[in-house]
């Protein structure tokens, strides 16, 4: 039990970090679309890829627990 507690806290921290990261990507994408509605397609694709990359790091960390 004592060894699992730090692991759980670490997992929580990872999820917080990934959440903030994806949130910031979403924020940036929304602002960019607001500024340049014509480029929304390109922005969405780039945002999706970046979100997937950040998410990948999160999953890698969680599965390493």
């Amino acid at each position: 039990m004592e060894t699992t507690i730090p692991l759980i806290i670490g997992g929580g921290l990872v999820v917080i970090g990934v959440g903030i990261g994806i949130g910031l990507i979403g924020k940036g994408a929304m602002e960019a679309i607001g500024r340049q509605p014509d480029a929304s397609g390109k922005i969405q694709v780039a945002a999706l890829i970046l979100a997937a990359l950040v998410e990948g790091i999160g999953f890698a960390a969680l599965f390493a627990l």
């Binding site: 694709v45 997937a52 969680l62």
Partner: protein, 366 residues
């Protein structure tokens, strides 16, 4: 407009039905004496679902007269290599309850890790302190559930796309029937994924791989959401093989510029070049590795969340909690449909991006 609403409604009902179907496949004993066991049983059920299995089980129930669990399933061939090929059907294993005798060798399925071990006549399996079996393992080339599903999807894709190509040719470039659904997707992969990332000149060689991998992952992800309960793309060996293909294609087709940018980056001072080379070399391996982890972890995590929510229904066993978790499971199911498409898209997109790096011609400024 009315037609669209009708279609949307039908789709909703369909997935509603799927949620019910899936929950009925996870029937947990409702016996009141076993109520405390429900939690550990759900845990075991989820763990068992996430692993590959030797039989294609559809459902199981408890016979009330004999008190035995009856399994409804398709048996699959078990092929073992242990001083010569051994072949038998997985129905002989009886979910680890029976020992299979072939000649002088005895094999038994260990239920918890779904692997076949060599045993003595009584089928004793010895465990170490971490509850890992110590018995000898024969080389297992069985057609397991995952392999059967992969074969099924491959045959389905072959039939589907060959017939689509034929009808496309016959109608002189106008798609018909199923082709009307698949044509925009194929065109999207060509025009939005392959051409912008790989380039007008070279994209053609990569199209076959990109299309195959996209539809393969998508179909398998969608199959994983049906009550069949297959979990193929959530298996790390499958995603590893897919990522390995991307890795091989990237490095085999790479040109001089690509290797130049890895080992001797132009336009950077020499000291930085020496520091950057190992990092870039690591990047060659990290790129496909992130592909494999991303797909595996996404699908695995999705399945765990869904099955836990379905399991919650049996933990609460009252109207409020169970219907709440049912609604949540339904909602997650719909999200998972999006994830199924998104993961296939991301895998294809990133593969195309890596191919694009490998064949980029002109020197961009760094």
């Amino acid at each position: 407009m009315n037609k669209q609403r009708h279609l949307a409604f039908t789709i909703l009902i369909f997935f509603f039905g799927l949620t019910i179907g899936r929950s009925s496949t996870s029937v947990v004993e409702k016996d009141k004496n076993l109520k405390q066991d429900v939690k550990s049983e759900i845990k075991e059920y989820i763990n068992h679902h996430l692993k590959d299995s030797h039989s294609f089980s559809i459902t199981s129930y408890k016979d009330e007269k004999t008190g035995k669990t009856v399994y409804i399933e398709l048996p699959l061939p078990v092929i073992l290599y242990d001083n010569g090929l051994k072949f038998f059907w997985s129905s002989a294993l009886k979910h680890g309850k029976k020992v299979v005798a072939i000649g002088e060798n005895f094999y038994k399925l260990e239920y918890h890790d779904s692997k076949i071990y060599k045993t003595d006549k009584e089928g004793t399996i010895t465990y170490d302190s971490d509850h890992r079996p110590l018995n000898e393992k024969p080389l297992d080339f069985s057609i397991t559930k995952n392999i059967a599903t992969i074969l099924l999807v491959s045959i389905m894709m072959l039939l589907l796309f060959v017939s689509l190509a034929k009808s496309f040719k016959q109608n002189k470039g106008i798609s018909k029937g199923m082709g009307r659904f698949f044509e925009p997707i194929i065109l999207y992969i060509r025009d939005e994924i392959a051409i912008p990332n790989i380039g007008e000149k070279k994209y053609r060689n990569y199209m076959s791989f990109l299309l195959t991998v996209f539809f393969f992952i998508w179909f398998l992800n969608m199959l994983g959401l049906t009550p069949l309960g297959v979990n193929v793309t959530g298996n790390i060996a499958v995603t590893f093989s897919l990522a390995l293909l991307t890795f091989i294609i990237t490095n085999v087709t790479a040109n001089k510029n690509y290797w130049g940018h890895i080992f001797w980056m132009p336009g950077v001072p020499v000291i930085i070049k020496i520091i950057l080379a190992p990092i870039e070399l690591l990047g060659v391996f990290i790129k496909p590795f992130s592909l494999l982890i991303r797909l595996y972890a996404n699908i695995q995590a999705g399945h765990i969340v869904l099955m836990s929510l379905i399991g919650l229904m049996f933990v609460f066993q009252n109207w409020v909690g169970s219907s709440l978790s049912f609604g949540l499971a339904f909602f997650i199911s719909i999200i998972e449909i999006l994830v199924a498409l998104l993961q296939a898209y991301i895998f294809t997109m990133l593969s195309a991006l890596y191919f694009g790096f490998a064949v980029a011609e002109h020197d961009e400024e760094h």
